[in-house]
Symmetry: C2
Subunit: 374 residues, 2 copies
């Protein structure tokens, strides 16, 4: 059972119970509009990654603003997106095992579904599932362009998989998944740019080999919020998969631009709303949000509403603020915002978004794909 | 909506879809039985902390084996425990804000509820809620015995709160919450022991002051899986709050005993079940479990079923295994177990426990208090 939301629609922000995941709706709207404007004229399509928001409601807003469709990572996420009204989903990841592949094929009867492969055995199983369901599934070959996670090596190995897909009756070859995930959080702008230039070279050479074999390579897809401008300007990528731009987080906010400044292109719109639950000393305040309310894999959240405090330690249910400046304020019962260190896994801890505009709750949205693991 | 469980009862383990949270039921049963046996004859009661398992089903097993009741950290957890049949719950934490305090008072009409305080204003609000509901609530004063999280200083500050509680018509003074959380993961046995000896001194002195003021101080409660033997032998603590002993994790398994060995008293019974989803090279395998399937706050999970691999990096949906020994094995589609780094926040990421005995699914239990934040 999901938990009850921590606020009723219409309530003032001050009455929203804590911990809660709140969205600044004005900032979200500006972010949603800003990225399509930045891409206008490039000929590159936006296919936002829904792994950030996990919400068909926000996905449909992205589609309404011109997105070609969305990405996700898991079959269960794709099912929730399609159920929520999204018609075009790229599972930007491999799907392994006959049980999950059956679900991909079943879903491909309901909506446009594409999926990635990097293994011949897996590809054969995908074809079997497509045959069983008489489904038509678009398949992209994932190549490793520097992130060293999944993906075959660029070049011959990718061509070999593309040839198998192109020869299949039920699968169609869509192109290349070429996501340089490791580049997204490289702080230095020039270094980030070089990593993407290398990815572009590898993807371009692979595309040339595939086309030389007589196979059309329609889509080159990848990129994230940290690097998308480079892929969009490459003349090669046809789609960018930015996800975090809708919310942003402390980690992305530390990326530097070409002038060496940490001036994010997008606004922080996502916060963890928390209450001071104990104030044992002048130097220490304890808030009611800990590891169950925010992720710490990319560092601690920032204490947005109290500049003189740092979140120094998190346990399951507690965050310890060390007060480095003047100790006044932060009384027991005070509510403050934290900026998450990493938005995606923080969102995954919450059942509900509480949407705030003009200091009031305007909407309560389920985090529909929270915990969609499989 | 919770997600569908990844297995049907009766299925073989090999068919359990991934990622999934699996329990070795034989090991769980042995852990559940072992701790009460270790405490037998000490006169100290077991009040297990349910923040580990988040499950009334497991809580009731603990009660059936002699536990006095259970602990939790949040009102929403207490509600789920009482709804699940637990009759005696200590919220081993402060509860702040009128809305949550109303829920404590309402719940105290349904079951035996105790709660902690460390602030006079919060105590006054708790009393107001108790009056409104004509509820009788037991209150413990939390003292800081070295963890430097919540809690008033031992001594006079605790006495002052105890006197206010003792004078209340609706609140009853239960004693002291004296949990030395910071000691639990101190690796060295002697150092861990010294930390608890200091906690015992502080709690004993506070108890003496309260009793000298004519107030009975019935309960001294605290302790965790890492330190409970010291509190149980102290002659002071009346209850121990061990939680992790049911499951254990990589972090607790690193604690050293008196002989300097990492030989845990309890067995590992909790695992993340995962599939190899990509095998890009001899040195690298990618599994389908990442930050959404395990927490990394206490370090990476251990690759239980493949000694020659370490989980080197986790992204949202992927775990990268670096293969340090011989590269054979770990083919795409192989399923293996990971031992979580930290059990409590790992459990919080899953909707279901898949209970395994004799390589078969014996039960599928909801993680009922997953995401119970408020």
């Amino acid at each position: 059972m999901p938990h009850r939301p921590s606020a009723e629609i219409g309530a003032p922000l001050a009455e929203v119970d804590t911990p809660a995941l709140i969205i600044d709706l004005d900032a979200l709207d500006r972010n949603l509009q800003a990225l399509p404007k930045k891409l206008a004229g490039t000929g590159v399509q936006l296919r936002p990654h829904s792994k950030t928001h996990k919400s068909p409601i926000i996905a449909l807003k992205q589609v309404a603003l011109g997105a070609a469709g969305v990405c996700c990572q898991k079959v269960s996420e794709a099912e929730i997106l399609v159920e929520g009204g999204v018609r075009d989903v790229l599972i930007a990841n491999e799907v392994v095992g006959a049980a999950k592949l059956r679900r991909v094929a079943a879903l491909a009867r309901q909506a446009g579904i594409a999926v990635c492969v990097d293994d011949a055995g897996n590809l054969a199983e995908l074809e079997d599932a497509a045959v069983d369901f008489a489904a038509r599934i678009e398949v992209l070959v994932e190549i490793d362009v520097g992130a060293h996670r999944c993906g075959v090596a660029p070049g011959k190995a990718a061509l070999a998989l593309a040839q198998v897909i192109a020869a299949s009756k039920h699968l169609s070859f869509g192109g290349l998944q070429a996501y340089q995930g490791a580049a997204q959080h490289v702080r230095d702008h020039a270094e980030r740019k070089r990593a993407i230039e290398r990815a572009v070279e590898l993807a371009a050479e692979t595309k040339r080999m595939i086309e030389a074999a007589g196979i059309a390579c329609r889509r080159i897809t990848g990129a994230g919020t940290g690097s998308y401008a480079f892929e969009a300007a490459s003349g090669l990528y046809t789609e960018v998969q930015c996800g975090s731009y809708v919310f942003m987080d402390a980690d992305y906010n530390r990326n530097l631009d070409a002038t060496g400044n940490a001036k994010p292109e997008f606004e922080q719109s996502l916060y963890v709303w928390t209450t001071v639950m104990s104030r044992p000393s002048a130097e220490r305040a304890i808030v009611d949000a800990g590891l169950k309310a925010f992720s710490v894999d990319a560092g601690m959240p920032i204490v947005t509403d109290f500049a003189d405090a740092v979140l120094a330690r998190a346990s399951d249910e507690h965050g310890r603020l060390d007060i480095v400046g003047k100790p006044e304020g932060l009384e027991v019962g005070d509510k403050i915002r934290l900026t998450p260190g990493h938005c995606d896994p923080t969102v995954n801890l919450h059942d509900w978004y509480i949407g705030i505009r003009r200091q009031r709750v305007e909407c309560v949205w389920p985090v529909a794909a929270r915990g969609a693991l499989a």
